[in-house]
């Protein structure tokens, strides 16, 4: 942990972060996913833990009050996702990763509704699970994630983000999936196609491959 941030200056769980902001845990998780609430993670053998710096939360909160719904862009200069970018490519790239983090946050929390805003209303899904082919509406993903429950240790990596003006493809590798349906330590490869729609990047298709355990 950085030396200048003493333990007293941090909030050490979703519960503490929620209490500090006087909102529910679910609301602050959503804020992390969709509005750039600065939450950090420590990786552990058994279960990752979250923490937040009070000064970062305060900076985020101040900017959010100034312009509701906007991503903080000034005071929180030390935060990668909130840093202002002049380059158009970086702006699009960061907007895409924000959309993907909304999906990841929903998967981690086991809350399908949390990830809903990452998807286009017409989005579909297809792929193989244990050698059986599935395809259908993205609603199945939300149901599956909710039924699966929390997967606190999922460890995602962006293997590819490719942007072609109004469309994009994201290859996401996720290890340490867990939950009622996923099992103990699953690995998934996902290919998402995104569309820039009404000024926001939305997932139109999720193509998945579950690796044999």
């Amino acid at each position: 942990m950085p030396e200048r941030n003493t333990p007293q200056k941090t909030l050490e769980s979703w519960k503490q972060i929620a209490a500090y902001l006087e909102r529910s845990e679910r609301t602050v998780r959503r804020w992390e996913a969709t509005e750039g609430l600065p939450v950090h993670r420590r990786e552990h053998e058994r279960q990752d833990t979250v923490f937040a710096y009070r000064h970062e939360i305060e900076a985020w909160s101040r900017l959010r009050t100034k312009s509701p719904g906007a991503i903080p862009s000034e005071d929180a200069g030390s935060l990668a996702p909130a840093k202002p970018v002049a380059n158009a490519y970086l702006t699009e790239h960061d907007a895409i990763t924000r959309t993907m983090h909304c999906y990841i946050a929903g998967a981690r929390a086991g809350d399908g509704d949390l990830m809903r805003s990452a998807f286009h209303p017409f989005a579909t899904i297809s792929g193989y699970c244990q050698g059986v082919e599935y395809s259908g509406s993205v609603e199945h993903v939300f149901q599956w994630v909710t039924e699966n429950g929390p997967a606190p240790n999922i460890n995602p990596r962006f293997a590819r983000i490719e942007i072609i003006e109004s469309i994009a493809v994201v290859h996401l590798e996720v290890q340490r999936w867990s939950g009622k349906l996923a099992g103990a330590n699953a690995r998934a490869s996902d290919v998402f196609t995104l569309l820039k729609w009404n000024g926001e990047w939305k997932i139109t298709h999720k193509l998945f491959h579950w690796h044999d355990q």
């Binding site: 193989y128 244990q130 082919e133 599935y134 072609i164 109004s166 493809v169 290919v191 569309l195 139109t204």
Partner: protein
Amino acid sequence: MATDFGRTCPLTPRIRGLYRLRMTKTEYLAEYDGIVKTVQMYIDGSKQGKSELMRPAFHPDASFFGYAGEQLAVGTQFLFDWIDKNGPAPKIEPRVVSVDILDSIAVVRLEVAGWSGKLAGSGVRMSDLFTLLKTPSGWKIIQKAFHWHVAESSLAA
């Protein structure tokens, strides 16, 4: 680990238990060529302006997304109608930019220059992202997303 597939993945199973992917001994070249063959059906249909040539390349549940001008075009039927109405585009120059294979799924990026026809106009460039799924009857396009480079087409005219 849940053993009931329906419970593990609560989606509509298309083929239950009939087809198991051989994921251990994938022959890369065979898979690559199978994917390119499927994409070639799309190219052939585009060149001749005949959707019937490309229909077999698409999965029955395939989706289609992209902007045709200001309008968001959705659904493979839109694509097939567009291809038929556009007619032949004999001078298209397709190039495969990338083919990425992840066991049962794949992504292909295709750049097509020189689009022409009743709807396309002339000298239009199109970027396509195909996602494909491996099925018992070969690789099928499960989604096509496209970007129509409008500005470049007017420059090329």
